[in-house]
């Protein structure tokens, strides 16, 4: 916790900084709320009010998972320039852990899964990435591919004597992966809108994690060190930030996020397979690029938006075009990369922020007196 020592303060106080944070958060959420509102409206017109709202809520819960994943990717990318493609295998590991602990009751399953995934993430750093501390980003990227494939192959093969138990791919075997808890996925109706406890849980969990991350980054010493390392890793080291400590912390945090995300994802889908992590990783990665991997909030927003768009396309496209949902989404991505290469929201303020600036008064911050 940072306590700001009392001193003569002319312009700004702690309270003012907090207010500024909130203002930023408000601005960002307004940036999401306006397009989302439009989306709801369009869907409601096309599908009727109840269906439209239901699709939107469903899309929000789907997008939330990718917001979490994209944020995890962005954290590692920012701190150590690593685009971690082995991140998907954390989700796979989470899925398998859930499968093996499915009879332990939901609380045990949740706790064990999060712990296992976090530990795996830390091990990944220790064994694969720590020896490459002075390596170039390209080396790190290729290493992450290697780790990704190694873990996937481990899941495919019979090394642990696991796969034959469920015919290699659990989803195609006798069991359908992790059976959904009926009380969690049972849909109930609020004036025609079908909704499940799981969806509500996904919104709440995502919101809690986003708020916790904001708090961590803004208000704790570790958070300041992470942000400083993201901006200038070498300089952070030169003022005494321990490189190993911040990188381990970043891997720990992303592992935690991946653990939670895999729980939400598998509770929603149920399927468990060695390559289960690939799809979500890809969407989170592209979403992160859209939002800008240079900033956590940007990446989270990008992952969210892409998740929502893909889900809505899935829901609204005619059945024949279903398999093209990703195609449409990625055409949009190419357009964004062409016209806004640094992402919609970036450190310096991307397109969304620029649009927003037109609507508000000139900022008081700026040149010092």
């Amino acid at each position: 916790m940072i306590r700001i020592p009392r001193m003569r303060t002319g312009a700004s106080t702690g309270a003012e900084v907090a207010a500024e944070d909130w203002l930023q958060a408000l601005r960002a959420s307004a940036g999401i709320a306006v397009p989302l509102g439009l989306l709801v409206l369009i869907l409601c017109v096309i599908l009727g009010a109840a269906k439209g709202i239901q699709y939107t809520l469903d899309a929000i819960s789907y997008g939330s998972i990718f917001a979490l994943l994209a944020m995890g990717l962005a954290l590692l990318f920012g701190v150590m320039g690593l685009m971690n493609f082995a991140y998907g295998e954390l989700i796979m590991a989470g899925a398998y852990t859930m499968y093996f602990t499915r009879s332990w009751g939901w609380l045990g399953m949740i706790v064990i899964t999060i712990v296992v995934v976090t530990i795996l993430s830390l091990l990944m750093e220790l064994l694969a990435f720590r020896p490459l501390r002075r390596a170039s980003p390209v080396t790190l990227l290729i290493t992450s591919f290697a780790v990704s494939y190694a873990l996937q192959e481990l899941a495919w093969t019979d090394v642990l004597g696991l796969s034959h138990r469920f015919n290699a791919t659990i989803g195609t075997g006798p069991q359908k992966g992790v059976q959904p808890y009926p009380w969690l996925t049972h849909q109930f109706s609020i004036s025609g809108v079908l909704i499940s406890k799981l969806e509500i849980a996904i919104w709440i969990v995502t919101l809690v994690i986003l708020l916790a991350m904001t708090f961590l980054l803004r208000r704790t010493t570790l958070g300041i060190q992470l942000r400083a390392s993201t901006e200038d890793f070498r300089m952070a080291q030169l003022v005494g930030v321990r490189a190993n400590w911040v990188i381990s912390a970043a891997f720990g945090i992303t592992g935690l996020i991946a653990g939670v995300a895999s729980l939400l994802y598998i509770f929603r889908n149920g399927q468990v397979a060695p390559d289960i992590g690939q799809g979500p990783l890809f969407i989170a990665f592209v979403g992160g690029v859209i939002g800008g991997l240079g900033s956590l909030s940007g990446a989270a927003l990008g992952g969210f938006v892409l998740g929502v768009v893909i889900n809505i396309l899935n829901a609204s496209l005619p059945f024949k075009l279903h398999s093209y949902a990703l195609l449409f989404a990625f055409v949009a991505v190419i357009a964004i990369v062409v016209f806004q290469p640094e992402g919609l929201i970036t450190v310096r303020g991307g397109a969304l922020l620029r649009v927003w600036r037109r609507f508000r008064k000139p900022v008081t911050e700026g040149a010092p007196a």
Binding site: T221, R234, L238
Partner: protein, 239 residues
């Protein structure tokens, strides 16, 4: 306190520093001047552990610094104010100061020291909650110096602290460096502004290109070498 003995640093096959020896004693303000590309910054990056010397010894307080990581070297008591200040522009002024205390364990004293820094450099107190990028160049330099001092270094390395600052601000920076030195902070000051550096420093090393020492001595000794400024500029032009 700090000793460089016959240190060479190479970028690939190009030697940036060759056979450099220098010494900084407790309480001294030592200058290191030379023209562009003489190897001044390379020397500092090598002392702080960012670059590895290809030959030679670096010792601090009797112990070798070779092979230590930058954060370990900071913990030994050497802090750097780097060229172009390199403050964390996305962090607030207060957070920049806070991160300067990362290596310290005495939280309570660290908080007091932050408050003291804000007394010493009033601009930092005034803009405590602002983003560091909104500070002016001179204020950013103050922030960079304060950030380095907050680790309570035994030796402060400064890399061109007056670069790109208005003449009036340059005077202020040199004044505050002298003031800090009088308070007991040992410093190694790297500068292009040779005349001013020789004036304020106890001793000054003059580098010529390739990182070799051309002259070394106090203000008076260097004055005896001849018209120093011409010698220095002439040397710069010749190489």
């Amino acid at each position: 306190m700090l000793k460089l003995n016959d240190v060479s640093v190479h970028y690939g096959r190009i030697a940036a520093v060759q056979g450099l020896s220098l010494e900084v004693n407790e309480g001294e303000l030592v200058g290191l001047v030379g023209h562009n590309g003489a190897g001044k910054s390379t020397t500092l990056w090598t002392i702080t552990g960012v670059l590895r010397p290809s030959a030679g010894q670096i010792t601090f307080a009797g112990r070798s610094l070779l092979g230590l990581s930058p954060d370990a070297i900071l913990r030994r008591g050497i802090a750097l104010v780097p060229e172009n200040r390199r403050i964390f522009s996305r962090l607030t002024v207060g957070e920049n100061l806070r991160i300067g205390t990362s290596a310290r364990k005495d939280r309570r004293h660290a908080d007091q020291d932050i408050a003291k820094m804000c007394d010493r450099f009033p601009a930092l107190g005034t803009f405590f909650g602002r983003r560091a990028s909104t500070l002016s160049g001179g204020e950013q330099q103050q922030l960079a110096i304060a950030r380095a001092l907050l680790s309570r270094p035994r030796l402060l390395l400064l890399d061109e602290p007056t670069l790109g600052l208005a003449p009036l601000i340059v005077d202020r920076v040199f004044e505050s460096l002298q003031e800090l030195n009088r308070e007991g902070v040992t410093m190694l000051l790297v500068e292009q502004n040779a005349a001013r550096t020789i004036e304020v420093a106890d001793r000054t090393y003059v580098l010529r290109s390739g990182g070799r020492i051309a002259f070394h001595g106090t203000q008076e000794e260097l004055a005896e070498v001849g018209d120093f400024e011409t010698a220095y500029i002439g040397m710069a032009a010749a190489e």
